[in-house]
Amino acid sequence: MMGTAVFYLVAVVGVVSALVAVSHKNPVVNVLSLVVTLFCIAVSYALLGAEFLAAAQILVYAGAILVLFLFVVMLLGAPEEPPVGERRPFQRVAGLALAGIAAAGSIAVLAGIRVAAPAGAAQGTAEALGRLLVGPYLFAFEFISVLLLAAMVGALMLVKRKH
């Protein structure tokens, strides 16, 4: 009962702050309201029994990725967008229509999926996930570190100033 109330509260707050995140003019407000949305998603993970992912979501997104976003926004001097509608009057209507189609289609398809398997009691603790990561998924787990190293080197190369 408690979990149900928490989920609906979190869902409403998450959707509203996501709307603010994509519609507000100020980039700092965009980033900070996306933090709220990602926190709501972390609470949803916890309600779904994925405790480790909930912790990782807060650590990785609120702690690292969005700080990086804020850093870049501050570095670029929080550039405001030019007033919309002077050059692309068609873009906003078409974009909103396509997003509406995506919402209707994905709700229709995803809500229609029925899973026959009975819901087991798999708890996403750090121990259970760790046994999977260094067991069946060991190659992917090791390869992720190569990917992160490549991304780090690539980012450094992109922003390096030429002498």
């Binding site: 949305t37 998603i41 993970y45 994925a50 570095l75 550039p79 974009g95 994905s106 996930l129 992109l158």
Partner: protein, 101 residues
């Protein structure tokens, strides 16, 4: 009494559509990257919800990998934005037409 999987999935679908709207409508490069992050997170939420329905943990491992790839993506994307800003003094994607011809 737990929340049905369908409601989690509808929440995820709404977040995905909002992120898609951000990518399609906004013109600042940072807002487009934020929309992509939102869409990735919505997909993650749907994965975890269906994974609970199946009673398996593999979906959560996939979400872990998606998080790592998203971190790599955002690092490279923001580095690109900084490089573009240095060259053009703007991150308006409508002005990025240097590869048009």
């Amino acid at each position: 009494m737990t929340v049905p999987t369908t409601h989690f999935v509808i929440f995820a679908a709404l977040l995905f559509a909002i992120g898609a709207a951000g990518v399609l409508v906004r013109r600042s490069g940072i807002s487009i990257l934020l929309g992509i992050e939102l869409m990735l997170n919505a997909a993650n939420l749907a994965l975890v919800a269906f994974g609970r329905q199946h009673g398996q943990l593999d979906a959560q491992v996939f979400v872990f990998f998606v998080m790592a790839v998203a971190a790599a993506e955002v690092a490279v994307g923001l580095a690109l934005l900084v490089a573009i800003f240095r060259k053009q003094r703007s991150i308006d994607v409508d002005r990025l037409n240097v590869m048009r011809w």
